[in-house]
Symmetry: D2
Subunit: 369 residues, 4 copies
């Protein structure tokens, strides 16, 4: 069963229809676990902004953390806020000073709203802007019928991809950023952790010419998805010895790079152990707490380079995604396992907690999935 | 008709057979046009060398230049010398101090014999060694039944590729070096000039995830080969406007990179004209004579980077080839159009001059093609 | 005689004084040679802009070209336009939506007004924006009592540098961009062409740890300035053999890099000839017309990288300048040979044409030099 | 008191004098703490080797670890072995197949003897060779009257530097490798840990144009040496708050890079905390045991790049040292605090343990210090 429906079937309703005053939204209403579906005002479109009718939205692990109100969420999120930072929408209205988009265009969105003034922003590194605010975390996001976004954050979705794929360009961008942080083509790479971004990374690494792409996870369900994303080999790190298996696959040479998507300390250590000397580990996965490394043996004596990866390069990563998806070289559909109604948000949370899902995409009220 | 025969059919004769004293070879016997097939001594295997029985050898444009005795050849080649710098052979004998290969192994060869002492060699850049000597140009090469090569120049051919492909790893390395001199994945690239190295570059760029690979040439025969190497678009630069066509294919964005394989001044100028600002041109093709550029308009105002490309990175390029071929991501067979007997060398020259050939591979005396 | 006066002596008049309606400016009034000093309106400060009282302005070769109305100028400049793209000013007024500067602050200015929407701008490469407009070329510049600039183009001048130096940060940025386009520290570099940007490049290369910095020019006057900028060696390319002299200075190794500031074809050819294999040439100098190279011998066989350099990286280059000047590591004063009244603009042009000047800085009407 | 005596005073004895059969050497004679001065045979000069008369040798922290027989030593060193991996010597004899050096030349030595066959060695990355053997650790080293070394490891010392400096090119190379692992010029850098390599790194960073070089340590003695190596600021990390002080020095911008020479977990954490987003930490210091990091906050959210640094790039680093020292841009003498007789090796160990020394250099028996 392939939940993804071709783009052609998704013709949008005319955008000229009158805007309602209120809309449904998935709102973090108060400190503490949970989220509510509420009626909230349709947001006004400010200067420099676009008002989008949301067509599809992806659910991210971060949404779960906010739902569960973990320590990070409790320290950062200021309720009430509408959740959702991965989505595609149709342009309904342009704010003052916006010349670039037409009503009816379908746009995905960079979720980082950056300051433009810090050193990072002024040197082409906005992805590490010191004053980043994130859609669906710090400001209202896309788990709603409508959302406003800065026009500079909007990206015209390639015409050939289904809405479900356009909805997840934001997390795909994390994967692309991680994969492209070092050499890929003609290299042996492992992706440790096969959640949705790990699955996307497998697809990107294959599309970009890695000659061996090895996937590891401890979930047979996810490893099966990894196979469907064309991993050359999969390792069940709960049952198999990762280091031995990789040595075997790479004929003793070890890995040229590890794309670390799990945040799991053992995955990091094993990945470093089996990197060839001079290799790179690009780390996107967030550990739950600090952990230790044997730095001498795993990093310094081996001459390893470690990259901390956050966000997407703005906007190289988006051009790269556009090219990968627009050319048809990359197909994410096997990693998108469920399309659900947005009003079933609590069910989606449960599904993700069960571990029996890849990427889950939500269809807002009134949209046809 | 596919001239390439699977590797499995190529079982070598036992390497223990007694070595003859003389052998057949294609020799540049004297200054001036032409080449002769001669009986010459089987070379002795010196310290640090391997003696190879040649299994297949590729014919290169450089061989034609030496045959025709152009100005470059007249200034460099010191006859008599056995031609041939692209080949795969079977190890017959190891010289003193060589521990790494076994008799019977099939090896391709880096053709540049480097000094190991100059700045380039001492900093990982032997491909621009100041004292390079080239097999088949400065020392006896592989258009013969046997050849000796420095053991450090030998590369175990991947087990899964046919002999015809192993024979052309040297020129494939030129292509890989050129393609990988700048960004490839998720990029729009053009290959200008679809001789064998250009054709290989198309395959490499596709395998390495370029999202648009455009081929240009003035020969319909070669453009047809380019299509078979999976170019996304081909441009007949003799009939079509290259710049306009590229603008159209890239939706106005221009190219991220040009892989210049023709040495043709107009191809260079047109390629630069349609590079996006900040793009790169990697230049392998050798022009017949100096030519001029409008540097301000084509290079400086656009912030272009130009790379002069020579040889293969020793030995990154070989690891990359090994990975690309060994993983099956890259298939060169459509570019290898003819397999001929080495004794037909003069016919091969004629065929190449006619322009109705891609890569031509020769089968030495006594080998079964 | 050092024309540069310490910053402390330059206390600005109070910025609260009433603005006049008109001001003096050096205006390219019509197509054809020449420029006029005219009374023009003081510009209004638009949204996103700063109005600056000009404190000092540098004269650039480009100003001469516009004065002389060469082919490039005739094709690009649309009179009337106030000249001047190198200057430092005091903030007098902030336009709507500008929060970052206070009245009275001294700011230098990036001269490229970029679009923010093209691929280059969206990927951290605004210096090659496809829609650049230049202050003093395409829009009114700083050879005037007042000028308006986009606030994003303004850069707070380091407090410790004299006004004359702050005035020339724009061309200094060209030099920094060129020098930092490749390795510098512990390298042997040559600067070919010792006009003001070449002189600045000498200082930057020395400050950045180049171990040998060789200057060449054909003007003894400029070579003397090169010595004052601490070139390790100077070559009079009109009388001496550049290639031989460089070989001698580098003990046969050749140069690691050439910073090409002359646009002279022979300087380019000689620089390439004496680059070590694998070296780089970064080209900022603009030739008068297309010229030819022996590409095989000078670029391809040597594995050279050529960079076309334009503008300044926005804004890495400005941070780098800030650090170099603010730390006192770089002193440009020997290269600033003349400080003149702006009303003497025609005299400044004559001086520059005579070749007996380094950088010439102008003091606007009413300012004390 | 400056213990360094100009090179000119060091004229070597004639190299033609007859070689003795035995010599004095500092030998790790058996597992367990300590080292002995013994009479041992003068080594025979094998093929590809040079026999050197040792002129000066530096004492390294690694020598202390072997003396003390820590866990690392116990796991690696196989007594008996002559210690000493930093030294300069005079060529006495060339083995078979060595053409490059003349008797009487002074050479410093790369201490890593590499295999030449692993992936690292074959791709210009011998510094992370998988089969490295180290002089004075795995094979007999330079704390002796004579030593043999592979000729490829020998480096002609620049003529203008004193013997004491030539003796410590090996650890200087560690510093150069670390500093040059990322941007230096026009950057704000900190060196955490002011042992000899940290002190050298300060000098290198200054020579290479860093605009702010901050030193930290917990030893007032070492911080005083840091001042003498021209650190722009020094921080006593035992008494002062490193993060606050750096923020203050960098006017809130944070550091562009940290050169980590201490192996101290708090230095690493504080260094990461005050790196600007997107900055780099290059780690050479070896911690005593594994330690933990708050990866999310210190590495991933900030987009930091960490480099593990080992050895010296072979031989870029040596060319860089040659240029830095040979040009006089870099002066290491303030960091070389003691020159002692080699027979006082035990005293040198005591001195280093006391923490009241920078680099200690030893003068072999029969040499005049």
């Amino acid at each position: 069963m392939n939940p993804v429906i071709p783009a052609a079937a998704k013709a949008p309703a005319a955008s000229s229809r009158a805007l309602p005053r209120t809309m449904k939204a998935v709102v973090k209403a108060a400190a503490g676990p949970g989220a509510e579906i509420r009626d909230v005002p349709v947001p006004a479109c400010g200067a420099g902004e676009l008002l989008l009718r949301v067509l599809r939205a992806g659910v991210c692990g971060t949404d779960l953390h906010i739902f569960e109100w973990d320590r990070w969420s409790a320290g950062r999120v200021r309720p009430p806020v509408t959740l959702g930072h991965e989505f595609v929408g149709e342009v309904v209205e342009r704010g003052a000073e916006v010349a670039e988009f037409r009503a009816g265009e379908r746009v995905a969105c960079e979720s980082h709203i950056v300051c433009g003034h810090c050193v990072a922003c002024r040197t082409g590194n906005s992805h590490v802007c010191e004053n980043t605010r994130i859609l669906g975390v710090d400001v209202n996001g896309g788990f709603a019928e409508y959302v406003t976004v800065p026009a500079v954050n909007a990206w015209r979705a390639p015409a050939n991809i289904p809405l479900e794929v356009a909805a997840v360009m934001e997390p795909l961008g994390n994967a692309v950023h991680t994969v492209f942080a070092g050499p890929v083509a003609a290299s042996s790479l492992a992706v440790t952790g096969c959640g949705p971004i790990g699955l996307f990374a497998l697809g990107v690494a294959r599309a970009a010419g890695a000659s061996r792409v090895i996937a590891s996870d401890i979930s047979p369900y996810r490893l099966d998805l990894a196979r469907r994303m064309n991993a050359d080999a999969v390792i069940d790190a709960g049952r198999e010895n990762f280091v031995d298996r990789v040595r075997q696959y790479t004929v003793g040479r070890g890995l040229d790079g590890v794309l670390e998507m799990s945040g799991n300390p053992n995955a990091v250590r094993d990945g470093l152990a089996v990197l060839r000397n001079g290799g790179r580990m690009s780390m996107l996965g967030l550990p739950h707490e600090p952990y230790e490394l044997d730095w001498n043996r795993l990093v310094i004596f081996k001459g390893i380079t470690l990259h901390g990866i956050i966000g997407r390069r703005m906007f190289e990563t988006w051009y790269q995604m556009d090219n990968l998806l627009g050319s048809g070289r990359l197909d994410l559909r096997p990693a998108i396992t469920h399309v659900m109604k947005m009003e079933q948000f609590n069910d989606a949370v449960g599904l993700l907690r069960s571990g029996q899902a890849g990427k889950v995409v939500l269809v807002p009220w009134g949209e046809q999935g």
